[in-house]
Amino acid sequence: MKTIQEIENEIIEEFAIYDDWMDKYAYLIEIGNDLPGMDEVHKTEDNLIQGCQSRVWFHAEMKDGRLWFTADSDAIITKGIAGLLVRVFSGQKPEDIVHADLRFIDEIGLTQHLSPTRSNGLLSMVKQIKMYALAAVAKEQQNQ
């Protein structure tokens, strides 16, 4: 299992070959199209991340001490961004997720999607993922 850091570095490298914005987004669209999506039963209000423009769902499951994410969105670019987050975080330990600094978002030029009012709600997605991880950490500590 690669670490969060390692996966982030991979993504940064992949995006580094594109110097044109349209190419970067074409790649995000590709990632969005490749993301398997999620079980319809998990497209619940609870899993819905509030964003003004597009709807995006994140579902988390705990298995063998690691968190596994699935995601979907009605907009492809948003789905592509969600796909990147799934790739980085899915299968990681909750405490590692909590402490991840997500350098790659800045490095590949997606920072502009981070402001709280931005349409695709990247910030909300990251928050939601960290909330899942925090809850998992708290639960683990309770069980010990």
Partner: protein, 407 residues
């Protein structure tokens, strides 16, 4: 003769590039840009004359007061109101709407009275009425529109009964671009004793307005949609109605005498202008209206009409294009969907090509519901837009379609 290239030179921001691309600004329905002379006028007042209006005894204050009141006279002239007293400065269209809903509502709306709005209204012409209805036990009724974007006037005739006390209608729909038959609506409303407030936010910059000829009771608009600054707007109201309406905010400026036993209110228009107004914004708005007057709104409208026709024709050619709003009378707004592509995807990819459009629900959720969509892409034109920019928009859309594998 309207010379678009010359007009463009007046707007410094139009020379900007974004992501290394030439800026194509097609989000004028949200806000327009300001010409140099508006920016310079406001700068001049900040640099040389800034001082609070209406109460000073000194030179600077008098200077600002005069300019503030001169702006009021310019507005009066621009919309052909009968008197300066009928021009209330607000923060914008939304505040003007809220002022009417609150203050007219306090004076004239009671249990069981009806307010009539249209299905294509902006939220600013829906929510204040819902709040009023809740306060007073009044009822909000809605005039539907047809799929082509035109109001269903038969339904209007049917809904317009003597129970209706107020009609709220957009002169131009911010989503569909439909130019509504406001003169007819006003005449019919008056025939049953109802008053009419016209939301002029998307009309003031495109259509010459004569509030006396229209005979509307209230007319609201925002400065920033007609090349003026943000944060200032105008409420026009007929004097005899404004006189009977209570103030809606208390404070300085709006009073005549303050005693703890009883306070008396200032006369119009100051009764409705509590607190320090954004007087430099107001002065900027006056300058913007003078600029539009100098160019001539009729000449502007003629140019924009040709541009819209060209744009509709070109945009329609884009494969998978679905345009919302094809009314016979239409102003500078084109809302659309490109195939099945999500509006935010289209918007983001246009943005990266330097093209600024609006996406989402456009503050008109009922209109979205009408068409069963979660949002739209909106290109909205201003007088400084060109056919070349329309071509760039269409090229951009072709590129987006191609990225999504559309033929």
């Amino acid at each position: 003769m309207f010379d678009v290239e010359k007009v463009r030179e007046d707007f410094p921001i139009l020379q900007e590039t974004v992501y290394g691309k030439r800026l194509v600004y097609l989000d004028n329905g949200a806000t327009t840009q300001r010409p140099r002379r508006v920016i310079e006028k406001m700068d001049e007042y900040y640099y040389r004359y800034n001082s609070n209006v209406h109460r000073g005894v000194h030179y600077l204050s008098n200077r600002c007061t005069d300019a503030n009141e001169e702006a009021r006279a310019i507005v009066r002239r621009f919309i052909h109101a009968a008197s300066d007293k009928e021009i209330i400065f607000t923060r914008g269209t939304t505040e003007g709407m809220n002022l009417v809903a609150y203050s007219f509502g306090e004076a004239f709306i009671g249990q069981g009275d009806e307010i009539l709005v249209t299905e294509m209204e902006h939220h600013a012409d829906i929510v204040p009425w819902q709040m009023l209805c809740e306060r007073k036990g009044a009822v909000l009724k809605v005039v539907p529109f047809r799929d082509n974007g035109e109001l269903d006037m038969e339904a209007f005739d049917h809904l317009l009964t003597e129970r209706v006390k107020m009609v709220g209608v957009a002169y131009v729909s911010n989503v569909l671009g439909t130019v509504n038959p406001v003169a007819e609506i006003i005449a019919k409303a008056h025939a049953v004793g109802a008053k009419v407030v016209v939301d002029g936010a998307q009309a003031i910059q495109h259509i010459p307005v004569d509030v006396q000829a229209l005979d509307c009771d209230f007319f609201v608009f925002s400065g920033h949609k007609i090349y003026g600054p943000t944060g200032v707007g105008v409420l026009y109201g007929k004097e005899h109605l404004l006189e009977k309406m209570p103030p809606w905010q208390g404070g300085g400026e709006m009073i005549k005498e303050v005693r703890f036993e009883k306070t008396t209110y200032n006369e119009l228009p100051f009764k409705f202008e509590a607190g320090t107004p954004d007087f430099i914004g107001i002065i900027g708005l006056g300058e913007a209206l003078k600029y539009v007057e100098d160019l001539g709104l009729r000449e502007i409208a003629a140019y924009e009409h040709g541009l819209l026709e060209y744009a509709m024709e070109r945009v329609r050619e884009v494969p998978g294009m679905r345009i919302f709003g094809e009314a016979a009378m239409k102003s500078s707004v084109i809302s659309f969907a490109l195939g099945d592509i999500h509006h935010s995807d289209t918007g983001i990819l246009l943005d990266k090509q330097g093209i600024a459009v609006r996406t989402g629900q456009l503050c008109a959720e009922p209109t979205m519901r009408h068409y069963g969509v979660t949002g739209m892409v909106r290109a909205s034109l201003a007088m400084y837009n060109t056919r070349e920019e329309i071509d760039l928009l269409c090229e951009g859309l072709h590129k987006v379609a191609k990225m999504f594998g559309m033929k």
